[in-house]
Symmetry: C2
Subunit: 281 residues, 2 copies
Amino acid sequence: MARQARAESRIIGLVPTMGALHEGHASLIARAKRECSPLIASIFVNPKQFGPDEDFAKYPRTFESDSEKLRQAGVDTLFAPEAAEIYPKDFSTYVHVEGLSERLEGRSRPGHFRGVTTVVMKLLQIVQPHRAYFGRKDAQQARLITQMARDLNLDSEIVVCPIVREPDRLALSSRNVYLNPEQRKAATILYRALEAAKKELEAGGRDALHLQTSLRRKLDSEPLAAVDYAEVVDAETFEPVVRVSRACYVLLAVFIGKTRLIDNLYLEPKAPESDEFMFHL
Amino acid sequence: MARQARAESRIIGLVPTMGALHEGHASLIARAKRECSPLIASIFVNPKQFGPDEDFAKYPRTFESDSEKLRQAGVDTLFAPEAAEIYPKDFSTYVHVEGLSERLEGRSRPGHFRGVTTVVMKLLQIVQPHRAYFGRKDAQQARLITQMARDLNLDSEIVVCPIVREPDRLALSSRNVYLNPEQRKAATILYRALEAAKKELEAGGRDALHLQTSLRRKLDSEPLAAVDYAEVVDAETFEPVVRVSRACYVLLAVFIGKTRLIDNLYLEPKAPESDEFMFHL
């Protein structure tokens, strides 16, 4: 299909997902639908991006309602392969982005990003989209995939889309269903901590260590929250910054009970070299 | 160019080389020319596939005569990028075939195959050929690239072509120019050892250890030769076999002075499960 669509100068779009679709996915699909035809969505719960102690087995699988949502959203083709199709018996080739993959999420989840970049590479090769859409909630993942696409000269543009939030501002995630009502309420602490960091930045705060200390203090005020990391990093390298003076992410990973949630605040200079920022939450 | 040629249903061919072209390359190009249009050749001495103590700096570079040869052979486009174009400053993504990459050549040349698979992936993405041609002298390399193409769903067929030899049966290699006349004569020991192994196999010899012992003895009879490895391996996995009973390679890596040469004999069963073989030297 790709070859024919490309021959006809149509713009092929891909939205790769692990299913358990929510409004975050819906926003990716809506944007892709506006920009592409044909539009392909994939559902594949990728075993290679889960650690041995992670939630692969219990990851929510809602295939029937997912495929109905995709159909209603105007997706032309749903690609939902079996694991044995994606990883045949003697599968042994991996794509790895060095450095970037080892930090933050990569440190907390060894092997995770190697699994992500490998499966995304495969999906991009199978579908051959002109554009592939990813959510900014997984900021490091989006950065890695962009780096992979550039480094390996992939003929697909990586499009990164804004975070979608619940009315109480919790970032949408397929893992939110793991939260009981009490935990669900506690989970808003991630957004509230980021909002406090934004206020500190708006008031002129530029010291990354001070910001991180404030974030920790705020997160620690929630008894059900256990911080994995709370860092201010360069938006290109994902290395810690000392002073906020360029595009940065404030990144959070927090356990609420056994559920690990991530969220972030993206700071974009208003002009090159500017010390004034736009804040994307 | 790829997108347009693909849209016009033409068969794009790629012959990737490191230059210093010889009759081995010429045979790849002649075959690709028969099967493809347009035909692209690349010349890139890939720094990432040379170890720190290897011959990257002195690897023969004969760009003017190479490009003239390619023009005369009917190559439509020569792609000869600079290293900084292929590996920009913060390049950090690698393709690695686990297992296969660690054995034999990979053990003798750590990191070599990671450099090979990464650059071949890039070339395949840039050129988007329907077919890419590689020589069977580098049998393990050809096997790895075939595995990579399958594992990562690349839209390119990997075509592996026979070894081309000098009149005295030395396998053609850009590194043969390193040999002085005495070494050049000694270098024929690789072929003579493979020929002896072929005779042993034709006489019914199936014991891999016995074959390896005969190979070693033969190679050691040449005072200028220092064996790196001489093994009988499964043609799929490149793991040692005990008994020759399926498709196998007899693989040699031998130093003649400081020059490391490789050669191989490919055994193909005459029929599935057959114990009779065709021998490709």
